[in-house]
Symmetry: C2
Subunit: 287 residues, 2 copies
């Protein structure tokens, strides 16, 4: 049983996990750390955590499970430091959006009988605006929670048990776990998550340049324009680490997309345009 | 006063206009024509029209105002045929998504003291799926309804009056009228409407190819992916005419967008990525 959880990073995701755990029957303790004091006190106020801690390492030392909800490079930086001070009876897990580098660190510093356990996770949920004030107990309901776990990792019995218990808590929040190879994970999220984000960023940035000085023209775009640019509000702070740790798959996806747009541009007057619409219709019918 | 309206094309837009007129106090008659009998009978059943007519020209002959809610080429084809049989005491208006070619026809066949009046209109509202079954009395509430009217057109007094009355009905549906030059209209919708549509089509078509055979991976994209591909369901039948009547502005917008994406792709590891996110954030703050 997991009795104490430390959430390091009580932003949107961290605070939503805290709220979701509480809303779905978790009765243990939840300590929270956040770089900004305001974020931590918001998380405390809304009931996402029971206590605020000012030292992330000390918080992790007291916890059965430490959940890292910080940007990827902060996760990569914390991983060896936590491994050095935790016991084989403790689990660290994370929510990082790219997994190859995190899995490399996990294999290097965790997951032997004498080391703490690390379970690499990635909930496919979020909002375009961060911060505990947007936290939502239902954020993970119906969402996929990816794990890039390696069944061959020789974890301690307690570490293996905590990993299974964490998966049970994830299920209790309403998420559906899918296990996937880390390289395949990073390739796949480049298509279904990173490409849509960079598309929305490029579209929003371009339109800011083209019609930014004519706000009435934005109204003209209506719901379609709002939807296609909503992700334009996403913070660079989070996406920088994603771009840096998944560069090649994102490059490939963007280049394929540029070619697809050029193909449409060159065929605005030809029957090939029909094929593009039919292919797109097909994607939506299946989604 | 407008007492009789003929809606030619009782699809999503036409039927929504009928419902919106009724919901907001219009008490005159509304006749409806639709190429497919089923679409007309659906419009009749939901109360968008009072009667189904099988001859669009005969329906227009009986109406004070004829509203063309058909694809652009069908509008361009109907315009001279209607002009030949209507009187200066009748108005034709439309909902076409591009306006230069329609305005050219209007100047050629309408809007003199001895000819019927034509008011070129374009409500910025829609759904990704067409058909009277998706019609909505509130579709135009809060939306912009563009007019590319020319104040210099020497309309008959009755024609001018009907145009003013139609604008009042548009306002009654909750839409906000904006007058704009037709060339500027077509340039602007290329950015805020056509570019987002072709972006969603290209993204959906590409993802169908890349992950179409792995439906569980689409779940992974979550809300963000669903939003960025929703317009992928849009029908080619409508967009073909838009692509053909607004080719150059759409080509320019697509090419600029391809360049923007390439810029992001080439700067995934540089500080220029921050600038793109900040520019995108700015667009969303103002929207």
């Amino acid at each position: 049983m997991i009795e104490r959880i430390a959430i390091l990073g009580t932003g949107l995701l961290g605070a939503s996990v805290g709220l979701a755990l509480r809303a779905n029957g978790y009765r243990g303790k939840i300590a929270g750390f956040n770089r900004s004091e305001e974020g931590a006190s918001t998380a405390l106020r809304i009931g996402a955590i029971d206590s605020v801690v000012t030292d992330p390492l000390a918080a992790a030392r007291e916890a059965d499970v430490t959940l890292l909800c910080v940007p990827i490079y902060a996760t990569l930086d914390l991983m060896p430091r936590l491994a050095a001070m935790l016991t084989p009876n403790q689990l660290v897990t994370d929510v990082g959006s790219t997994k190859r580098e995190i899995v490399t660190q996990a294999a290097r510093y965790y997951n032997t009988p004498n080391r703490p356990a690390f379970l690499p996770g990635h909930p496919m949920a979020g909002k375009e605006r961060g911060g505990a004030e947007f936290a939502d107990a239902n954020l993970f309901r119906g969402a996929v929670w990816l794990f890039t776990d390696d069944p061959a990792w020789p974890r301690s019995p307690r570490g293996a048990e905590l990993a299974a218990d964490w998966r049970a808590l994830v299920a209790s929040m309403g998420a559906r776990a899918i296990d996937i190879d880390p390289a395949r994970h990073d390739e796949m999220v480049a298509w279904v998550s990173h490409l849509p984000q960079f598309t929305a960023t490029a579209l929003s940035a371009l339109l800011e340049e083209e019609v930014g000085d004519a706000p009435e023209l934005k109204d003209v775009g209506g719901r379609a324009l709002r939807e296609m640019t909503r992700l334009g509000a996403s913070p660079f702070s989070m996406w920088r680490d994603i771009a840096l740790t998944n560069t090649e798959p994102i490059e490939r996806a963007l280049q394929a997309f540029e070619q697809r747009l050029a193909h449409i541009r060159e065929n605005l007057r030809t029957p090939a345009l029909r094929d593009e619409f039919e292919q797109a219709n097909k994607f939506r019918r299946e989604t």
